[in-house]
Symmetry: C2
Subunit: 591 residues, 2 copies
Amino acid sequence: MERKDIDIKDTWDLSTIYNSHEAFYQDLEKTKSLINDLITFKGKICNSIDSFYNFLTTKDTVERLMNKLYCYAHLNCDVEPKNQEYQTMMATIMGVLEASSVQISFVDNEIIEAKDKVLEYLKDPKLEKYTYKINSLLSYEAHILPKEQEELLAKVESIADTSSQVFNALRLEYEDVEEDGKLKTLNNATLNQFLKNKDEKVRKQAYTNFFKEYQRYENVFAQTLAGVMKKDAFYADVRKFNSALEASVFDDDVPSELFFKVLESANVKYRHLFHRYNRLKKELLKKDVIYNYDLNIPLVSSINKKYTIDQCFEIINECLRPFGQDYLDIINKARNERWIDYYPTPGKRIGAYSSGSYDTNPFILMNFIGDYNSLSTMIHELGHSVHSYLSNHHQDAVNANYRIFVAEVASTVNETLLINYMIKNAKNDQEKAYFIYEQLENCVGLIFRQPMFADFEYKLHTMAENNEPLSSKVITDLYARLNQEYYGKDVTMDELVGWSCYYVPHFYYDYYVYKYTLGMTVALAIVNRILKGNQQQVTDYLNFLKSGGSKAPVELLKQAGVDPLDDQIYEDAFKYFEELLNQFETIKKNA
Amino acid sequence: MERKDIDIKDTWDLSTIYNSHEAFYQDLEKTKSLINDLITFKGKICNSIDSFYNFLTTKDTVERLMNKLYCYAHLNCDVEPKNQEYQTMMATIMGVLEASSVQISFVDNEIIEAKDKVLEYLKDPKLEKYTYKINSLLSYEAHILPKEQEELLAKVESIADTSSQVFNALRLEYEDVEEDGKLKTLNNATLNQFLKNKDEKVRKQAYTNFFKEYQRYENVFAQTLAGVMKKDAFYADVRKFNSALEASVFDDDVPSELFFKVLESANVKYRHLFHRYNRLKKELLKKDVIYNYDLNIPLVSSINKKYTIDQCFEIINECLRPFGQDYLDIINKARNERWIDYYPTPGKRIGAYSSGSYDTNPFILMNFIGDYNSLSTMIHELGHSVHSYLSNHHQDAVNANYRIFVAEVASTVNETLLINYMIKNAKNDQEKAYFIYEQLENCVGLIFRQPMFADFEYKLHTMAENNEPLSSKVITDLYARLNQEYYGKDVTMDELVGWSCYYVPHFYYDYYVYKYTLGMTVALAIVNRILKGNQQQVTDYLNFLKSGGSKAPVELLKQAGVDPLDDQIYEDAFKYFEELLNQFETIKKNA
């Protein structure tokens, strides 16, 4: 369906950001002028508490404006990539962002140099809201370079993002797949459907047609993936971190222990559970050999439930009832005020996200097709949106923006409440088995597959840090080997498996994926207590959502009642998987 | 034909570089060890004249070794891209090059800081050969940054080339073209054949199928093209040049006046001649409207002459006789010692080049198919090879390497001697018209089209320098407009013309294309005098070839008898075009 044929109420309303292009360009001019104001503070930021305060508030205003401008441009580009007017807006705001980063590259140095004075200033009540942000900046002392080098480094930004930009701009097209004698379109959205087909030929053809395109352009993807690894290594090196990982966890204000905890749990302690699950699949499919493209064949005959958007909202309201009416009101606002762009249209960005800024609604991009996955994605993204909404309404702009780290908790809690609701309300054993199976697959993605991604990414980063050549052969060989190790000997890997890494956008996000595993682990702990009727947990959790990014992630999570450094929560998460697996095996073997 | 089926005498002999892989790796180890030696000079380079001299000679040895290693790896990769052993050699030497650039980033600072001492040292006869090189380095004083920033900048190199690397890795595939009822393969090599087809449908389809692929991936190409412009702007900015153009001409040691002279000649003073040529084409084709994809329709029926390799050498010997036996001996050495890899084979790099190092023969890669174009390419590349051979045999390593600037003179002089020979020796009016037409088309490429490229590139660079957004719309609109202006109102531009800029690799080479125009202009002046029997011009020219890169390009060209800053040579070049055009018009109108 073309975009113009979609019912307007099922598209997002970006006119609430700017109701005309002129309004966008007016704010752009205002931003440029305020950036010039900021520059006049050079050498004077910390001269007096008033100067310091005025500077910070002006900088807040600039950041809010830039975020709003960026939000408008990028949301529009994502649904209408061929509209060159939006591309121009995007390029313009990116240019302003890059330029301003150079123009005000003096700021961090000035504040760090005046450390003692600044700590004094922070005692003033009107500066209280800057406590966490400024203290974070001051802790950067060992990694900040002399002014002239900081200025040089700020200029590097203009050329550092080419790899990600090219990766995002490169949309492939795929050969059709023959299903029931008819040629059908293969794309990101239909691939998973084909992989569920009972006919091995269809699965194999879909898998092959899809990933051979990544093989065809392997040298491009290898360049962009190697490029982003080299970029991370470059920044870690010049900022005097021992590795890109250390730089990443420092930025996130978490200990690197967390990363290795995730890797070790999935890789050493509990991987046997994943192998057991794959062995069970092979058994239930009654096959001598199963390939990796067979792993999506439904082990439970599909219940083929379809959900309209309205039905989705009914279920979502039901699941999230424990959070109280205030939370539900925001969910319904999302529908009524058109925060969501539901349906796939030609050229629209694939996947789903929630995105926005302090001065806009949170917006959700989806590719809704009405299956359980669409429902689950919707409740997931609404988790992010409500988090943003609460955070924006309870925190000053400077503290509202939360890190991915805590973000994935808000979405995964919702997703977990949904699946528990579906399992609990299943009409019969088949439906129950279906949803248990859904959750098993979901867990596989979050607690086994994402750690494998993290392991891959860690190895690529390490190679880049050691100046080892990252050719497509090196990359695809590594990815094929890791897949075989993680999935275990009962799964035979297709010869294209190595190239499937080129499909994953997250490798461009610098140690992002392990945060999904953490989010899931923490979410399971929270949901477990909420479902036991723990009202304190509900209150703590809602306060956590309202806290935005006002503290270090570990502190925020502890406030929500969970310590991410506690081994117990990992044990509980994998035990949860094991129990689901036991239940599933029992139902299937008794069927 | 597969590579193994080619007669060995028609392939290049790379065993003259290394006769075993062990020999390559031995030199690699030697290089690494010498780089470690270089590092020990840190802080001491200019302590004494002996230290300075020892450092420079060690550095020369390292550079010669690295050039030889790179030469062996890249020539082998270009004919056998799938051989992983050569790919590994290539990745390894590139790694050593990048690392060494960071490891010895202190060198330029140390020498410039010790300027007065260094100027004293240079008076010593044993250092005489370093005069030009070291003075060039000293003149860089205003653009060199403090040591720590130079080190940071050296590290940036590892991430600065992503745009070019992606562009080189992105190979498109095109829909077939229907010709005489049959579907035929469209690619870089066949496009020009289709555009010569008498059937408008074939031309239009070929043009459309080709450039619509560039339109499909326009956002990728816009990112890489904008990326390289931003990179040039970045380096110009941090090195305190007013623009990327100033940085480029500074590196080339020529005045920026030269660039604008080229632009103004082609753009303002003589563009009417190009418009006249296009008007004549329209007239001769007897069409009301001619499109840009009609411009390759042959105006003279092809003479279909085919040449064997041996016949090519006979003609080449004939044309280059004015240079004397010594020059011809080198030409024949190229054949007998197997410097040349003639035939196209699967996977072999397209196009043609001459490449080598101080310690190897010059080598020529071609895709010889036996037509006039193959002959012309051969004499062109031999021009480069003889230039390298003479330069390597008459100059120290430090002065042998010449710039593109003078390189294109050596090749274009040869090409021009060939076409003049062909015109002069034409058997009849049709053959004469054929070769005049060939030369007209050649001139269009070099003295009109390359300046248009230069103009486009200048405008893109300027936008990047001003932080203006370079979206695909901005880029393609600009390119379409420039084409219309350059080609004139008698040519109607196809709607895809804007996207055809994405096909041109030279935009990734930082102000490269205007050097073609200069080379042609200078070459015409030289050939003109040689053909008038000016023996002094021959001697001056051969001395110029022997001078390699021992002086500034303008000095070298003046030594060859031509001042590139003299308006007269531009006037003569365009007059030459006008005379050819007159001759051509007369023949065609009398036919």
